[in-house]
């Protein structure tokens, strides 16, 4: 019994990972757009589970909060409002499928090329931080949120702020587009 539970506990990441893949397949494969959104939601929740299995509690819960709680709800909202007819949908997908396969294959090759070292290489002994003196006295394994906030607000403050400005630009742009369409 003990051994069995331990084995499950050790392989939690793999279990959640496989379930996330199943969710992603459901998202691609299902006919109805709402079912796709549901598959996406399932995949997102399982990715949160993967983070939790890796003891990255903060990231896991933030994944639930941001993706499952915010973004997928908006997807659902938009899909429910913009109901496409079944036939039109099928045609669009058939036209795109050839290019989509090429794009995905190219994207995967690029991804592997860039992250080759991170995936197949040996794990680095220390986390990459620009100012290690800030992380002193921080128990990263048990103070997830503090560690992430050190990273965001001390080590990588400028990229973080630039990112939020980009998001703001996107927001303003969306408002402008919506306004001009109505007039």
């Amino acid at each position: 019994m003990e051994h069995f539970i331990e084995t499950i506990g050790r392989n939690m990441f793999a279990i959640f990972g496989v379930m996330a893949l199943v969710g992603a397949l459901l998202m691609i494969g299902s006919r109805s757009a709402i079912h796709s959104v549901l598959g996406f939601l399932f995949a997102m929740l399982n990715i949160a589970g993967c983070f939790l299995a890796l003891e990255a509690e903060f990231l896991g819960v933030a994944q639930i909060l941001v993706y499952a709680g915010g973004i997928v709800v908006l997807f659902l909202f938009v899909v429910m409002l913009v109901e496409m007819s079944k036939k039109k949908e099928g045609e669009v997908f058939q036209l795109q499928s050839r290019y989509a396969v090429v794009a995905v294959a190219g994207g995967a090759a690029l991804f592997l090329a860039v992250f080759r070292k991170a995936i197949f290489g040996a794990p680095s002994p220390e986390a990459l931080v620009l100012r290690p003196e800030l992380a002193k006295g921080l128990d990263v394994a048990h103070q997830n949120a503090q560690a992430v906030s050190r990273g965001l607000f001390a080590d990588y403050l400028l990229p973080f702020e630039i990112l939020s400005v980009i998001l703001l630009v996107a927001l303003v742009g969306a408002v402008v587009l919506a306004k001009t369409e109505r007039v």
Partner: protein
């Protein structure tokens, strides 16, 4: 104190889950009954005083006598309680109708998402900091092991609660969509917009306790907000408390914010097409969500398992004489009492304030509550920076 093995700790966790489920299934029916009674008194009537079979036996005889004498029978006042059993039986036994053109899978999924999201939140709520009780040594298998006051008091407990609670919105939206009918769809869309917008001030108002206590852990936050800080630093959080409660009302779709089911506009909103226990799950989820909101409000603003709210416990504690030291220690009874008081407040508000119009709800949320919550957060940050 012996350390539990892995299997033992899992068994203990299952026992805790069972306790939480029992707590929920005791609190929810009693809230329903209290709602009938309190609403009755708010509207100058008695609420439910009898069930159909209330005419037999001694108390039935006394009832009839007292009604004949022109009085409200004392025995009769509580006789509506068996009606709760009737309600549950009716929900379970009633025919489960599914609309012919409904999306069957999603129609089935929606109530379960609502229910699961409502009850999983309790995983991170700790009723008492530290140990709740210890198994006596004669107990088989688990003798001498401690049971902690929360199922898992994780470091990011508050985020877990907020995140899982937001998943509950899918239940309502999907129920509205899968019914394949106009009123539920409108109810679902309304609720999606309402809940997503009220989540912002809700989270912002909960950020003030996070800033003040510098933690995301549930029991750490509640003890910081109860005894860890001087009272004057916490009393401004009355604003935060009221903000949180308002947003909590909107999040749980209670009056005056019950847009998803606004009866006179949308028949019954998102659950128009639901019947039987599927409707029962939505009903249950709504009341569990009310309990969760009350639990958070009492933990972060009303002192949680301690006696006094708003940091006043810290003022009181040094002056407590020895025989009253019970009032200085955390206890689950205080927590539950506060939850019950806040549930009463829910019913009280429902009986007092009429429903808002939809555009008014959105205006209140975006134009007043969010700026107010930001000001409150700034206040907390200033106090944290200069004082604590």
């Amino acid at each position: 104190m012996p350390t539990p093995t892995l299997t033992q700790s899992i068994v203990i966790t299952l026992i805790q889950c069972l306790l939480v489920v029992i707590f929920v299934f005791v609190v929810v029916p009693l809230t329903v009954f209290a709602e009938r009674k309190v609403l009755g008194h708010l509207q100058q009537r008695l609420g439910s005083t009898r069930v159909a079979s209330g005419h037999i036996g001694f108390s039935g005889w006394m009832n009839r006598r007292m009604w004949k004498m022109g009085r409200v029978p004392v025995v009769s006042y509580w006789r509506g309680i068996p009606g709760l059993v009737g309600d549950v039986l009716k929900l379970i036994l009633k025919e489960d109708i599914m609309p012919a053109k409904a999306d069957k899978f999603v129609f089935f999924l929606a109530p379960s998402i609502s229910m699961v999201a409502a009850i999983v939140v309790f995983a991170a709520i700790s009723f008492v900091p530290g140990t709740f009780f210890t198994f006596p040594t004669w107990f088989p298998y688990l003798g001498g092991l401690p049971v902690s006051g929360g199922i898992s008091d994780i470091n990011v407990g508050l985020l877990w609660i907020l995140g899982v609670a937001t998943v509950g919105v899918y239940g309502i939206v999907l129920a509205g969509w899968s019914s394949n009918s106009k009123y539920p769809l409108l109810g679902g869309l309304r609720s999606a917009a309402q809940m997503v917008s009220y989540e912002v001030p809700l989270t912002l108002s909960l950020l003030a306790p996070v800033v003040l206590s510098a933690s995301l852990n549930f029991s750490e936050m509640s003890s910081h907000m109860a005894i860890g800080m001087p009272a004057w630093a916490l009393i401004p959080q009355v604003i935060g408390f009221l903000l949180y409660l308002t947003c909590g009302f909107a999040e749980t779709n209670r009056l005056p914010f019950d847009m998803p089911e606004a009866e006179n506009e949308l028949v019954a909103g998102f659950h128009t097409e639901y019947s039987g226990m599927k409707f029962g799950l939505f009903y249950l989820a709504e009341y569990i969500n009310m309990t969760v909101v009350s639990a958070l409000a009492s933990a972060f603003f009303l002192g949680g398992p301690w006696l006094l709210p708003f940091g006043l416990q810290g003022l009181l504690n040094p002056y407590l004489p020895g025989f009253l030291s019970w009032f200085g220690a955390p206890h689950a009874i205080f927590f539950v009492a506060k939850i019950i008081f806040l549930l009463f407040t829910y019913i009280w508000v429902r009986g007092t304030i009429p429903r808002y119009r939809y555009d008014q709800i959105m205006a209140v949320g975006w134009k007043y509550l969010i700026p107010l919550a930001l000001v409150n957060l700034l206040l907390a940050a200033v106090i944290r920076c200069f004082a604590v």
